[in-house]
């Protein structure tokens, strides 16, 4: 078992002792500080670091907390109002970039992006909605890709594998042309359980089960409950 070294860091003026090399997101949450995250999932190393919602200030620079390992003497700021503004700005940009028509989305009520907007008190995006055209992929046996909603978090491409350990999703193209695609042969062999896992892993409504949707009445979905502000 490797040896654990404790180091001291300062978070919003408070000194705390933490495990050296641990993820800053983990450390902050253990310290009771609510850092918003979207692409981040526990125990993924290296972290995806794609959404940037977990922006905090470290030694005077804004960084994504999930991509940072703690080291001795770090000066971390989380509570500054401009950081909350920055984090909400990132979420608003995601809403403006894709075509997020929540009233018509199968994932509405169980969508992590939507819940993040609720938690931040976001009423609209201050950025112009782009209304770009994105293609859909219905060719899968049981899964479909609704790319209007994809936030390119890379959860499906990097974290999802089939029962044999093979990846099923990948990115195609670059920059604003980047789109998620799936291996149709492997998709066809996915078990029911694995299909559901892929849908649940997607933080938005981009990966969906074909022929299924809107099957949970309003009032019973994750974000309908009073605890929806919690992770």
């Amino acid at each position: 078992m490797s040896e654990v070294t404790k180091v001291g860091i300062v978070v919003d003026g408070r000194s705390i002792e933490v495990v050296e090399g641990a993820s800053l997101v983990d450390v902050l949450r253990l310290a009771g500080i609510d850092v918003p995250t979207l692409c981040w999932t526990r125990d993924v190393d290296p972290p995806l670091g794609t959404c940037r919602v977990c922006a905090v200030r470290v030694d005077g620079r804004e960084v994504a907390a999930c991509t940072l390992a703690v080291r001795a003497g770090m000066q971390v700021e989380c509570a500054a109002p401009d950081l909350a503004e920055l984090q909400q700005g990132v979420v608003e940009l995601l809403f403006a970039e894709g075509n997020h028509f929540c009233p018509a989305c199968e994932k509405s009520g169980d969508c992590e992006l939507q819940t993040m907007g609720y938690r931040m008190g976001m009423t609209h995006s201050r950025f112009p909605y782009r209304f770009e055209s994105y293609s859909l992929d219905y060719r899968g046996q049981r899964l479909m890709l609704e790319r209007n909603r994809c936030i390119h978090c890379k959860r499906c491409t990097d974290l999802f594998t089939d029962d044999e350990g093979h990846r099923v999703f990948c990115f195609l193209g670059k920059g604003s042309q980047t789109q998620v695609v799936m291996d149709l042969e492997r998709e066809a062999k996915l078990s029911e359980h694995k299909c559901d896992e892929a849908v649940a892993l997607c933080p938005v409504g981009a990966i969906l089960r074909k022929g299924r949707g809107f099957d949970r009445p309003i009032g019973t979905r994750a974000s309908d409950t009073p605890e929806r502000m919690d992770r």
Binding site: F95, N99, H100, F101, C102, P103, A104, C105, S108, G109, Q114, G117, Y118, R119, G121, M122, T123, H124, S125, P128, Y129, F131, E132, S133, Y134, I218, P226, M229
Partner: protein, 182 residues
Amino acid sequence: MTQKKVIATTSLAGCFGCHMSLLDIDLRLLDLVEVVAFDRSPLTDIKTFTRRADIGLIEGGVCNDENVHVLRLFREHCDILVSMGACAIMGGLPALRNEIPLSECLEEAYLRVPTSAGGSRIIPHHPDLPKILDRVYPCHEIVKIDYFLPGCPPSAELIWRAVTGLLFGGADPIPRELIRYD
């Protein structure tokens, strides 16, 4: 008796669902009409402003030149302007056409549609008809909007809290726990 506050409402490219949700405040409507008067609104059928409004509630996005005209009139005549519902805020379901060229939308609606009158080859273009815009715009991209009530529709509770809070004061007129996007 103090003078009643004035509310104006309109539905641009909307479905009137937000207005229905406003009516869903049920018996509180009776309390509301004690202290406010509705001016220009589909609820009163008053077509033009007869006085300045304290608050204007806009349902629907902006899909044609008449919507632009009405929205600008509301901005001119209302102290506080509120985008009410998903369509006013981001175009909503009518904005599903935004990624399709306008000519294609019109051809589909008037020329290729199975119910077009036998052999009809006309896209309506009478000067009295509003001109359809290239896409559906959120209201705040056309005029300054002061507050936003998300939802499809926003709940009656949110509309009640916002309208009474903005008109008569009170903490947090748009409480976070009432925000929904669907």
